[in-house]
Subunit: 301 residues, 2 copies
């Protein structure tokens, strides 16, 4: 990675984080603005916020976006969160005279790149990152290089099917990891279980579900238990297929790891090949909020 | 790949193939000997068979072995087929004065490397190979480089779990692809189904099962149908996770592809992300018997 500053942008459904980042992924300055769905307005707002930094020599601009991204062309093919379809995002940044080159990639791919450089620097060569939020995303670093696949779509860890006839998933398939461990799925599943017992519980979210499980609520405990089993199977699949040295969990739901990770690891160890299972560390990110902007910035190599 | 000759060895449970191979994976000469389980005797036999070639300048020796291999140290950690445990195979070849360097790797990994160079030359950058034999193995080529993972164990495509509570697998887990599509599993499953109908059928193997299905035998058809569904799910997982441009099927059972591949592709397309599903070609190897030796030879870069 060349010495120098980059601009990193983490473009989420509600907030955009932008930061000035050095070659080691250290964040020197940062700003945060609310997401606007009109891409022109959004990029203009970001340009104003970045104004003060543009006197520095900056090596380029990297952007992570939730959705299906074509990294070669800098186009967001589809982003349900932003309501975007075929948005030429790199072009908007270019026209607003952001530092060149402009790189755009999927947010989870970018988070994996951030984790590789910032959180695991020198301690991982083959890395799988799971972003546990409302949905479940993922990013892959193989032999120290970001892996994007044929169309930039690789790493959809949330859509590993672990139960062919299992729960319906928003992707249209069934039995995906996301249909059990995604924040939305956890809440949906808890709500259904409470309803069966004739209870309506308001304001359920993954954090309150976590508190309930810790307090011994049997419904909440069962929901996390089921998610842990499915995660265990998904981890066994990842370990058998990719033999990573590290799996890193990040995103809001990863804070519930003490509730679900021990059982998931037990199942992974029962199910996966010994040599590969012994070689992997499964860890929870200690710096979840920095991975996106840092990784985005480091897309500029 | 440097210009020049390499020696390639494909070490199977019953036969060893050895060939003189050029930098494009073309086989110039070849021999075949029966497998002996004593590694010293085996390597000595191979040395005698290779004698006539050793007057040529040879850039090195590559060996593919079925089992868990440590490619860095040239050690076969475990090979059920050969009854080997921690066999320092590279050392045996070194002591017998085979051309240096000596490279050892897993047979399916090696087959993937062979397919990449020989069968798909220039047409694939991100490749998943499935070796469909008695068991199901696999190899991965990412961004034009062989991917081995942390301990050389990556690519165990046969042990993707597609049905958490499904059929028992020889690996100790349940619901693995191999437990449905492996030659041994196909036969086991057909035998059980015939038995339920009060029939005993002798001499069942994947080839006869194929013939029976083609002739309209409902038991044989059902066995292939179930295998095709499971393969479809496994392909969806591979496509969502790895976004390959090519999946190549090889090995004896791949000859039955007309029976199981159309339905598997239908399921893959229903289950996988559109962008990734559209980007992948699933093909059956046209040169299955050459991939092992050619890939082994090309381990010497």
């Amino acid at each position: 990675m060349r010495k120098g500053l980059r601009l990193g942008v983490d473009l989420g459904g509600t907030l955009v984080k932008m930061a000035l980042v050095d070659e080691r992924g250290r964040i020197l300055e940062r700003v945060q603005v609310e997401t606007v769905k009109n891409p022109r307005t959004l990029v203009k707002t970001l340009r104003l916020a970045a104004e003060k930094w543009l006197a520095f020599p900056i090596l380029g601009t990297g952007i992570g976006v939730a959705g299906d991204v074509n990294p070669e062309r800098g186009v967001v093919r589809f982003s349900p969160n932003l309501g975007w379809k075929n948005v030429k995002l790199a072009d908007y940044f270019r026209r607003m005279k952001f530092p060149l080159p402009i790189r755009v990639d999927n947010d989870a791919t970018v988070a994996a790149w951030g984790a590789y450089h910032v959180e695991l620097a020198g301690h991982s060569n083959n890395l799988v990152v799971l972003t546990l939020g409302t949905g479940v995303g993922g990013g892959l670093v193989f032999d120290g290089r970001l892996y994007r696949g044929a169309t930039g779509t690789a790493g959809e860890v949330g859509h590993i099917i672990v139960e062919a006839g299992g729960e319906s998933c928003v992707c249209g398939s069934r039995g995906c990891l996301e249909a059990y461990l995604g924040g939305a799925a956890l809440v949906r599943s808890a709500r259904a279980a409470y309803k069966l017992k004739g209870r309506t519980v308001d304001g359920l979210d993954p954090i309150s579900l976590e508190k309930r499980a810790r307090a011994g609520d049997p419904v909440a405990k069962a929901v996390w238990q089921r998610a842990s089993r499915v995660l265990g199977i998904a981890l066994a699949n990842l370990v058998n297929l990719l033999n990573p040295d590290t799996v890193l969990l990040t995103g809001g739901v990863s804070r519930g790891a003490p509730l679900f990770l021990p059982n998931a690891l037990k199942i992974m160890n029962q199910r996966a090949f010994k040599t590969s299972a012994r070689a992997v560390r499964v860890v929870v990110s200690q710096r979840p909020s920095d991975l996106g902007v840092a990784g985005a910035a480091l897309l500029v190599e």
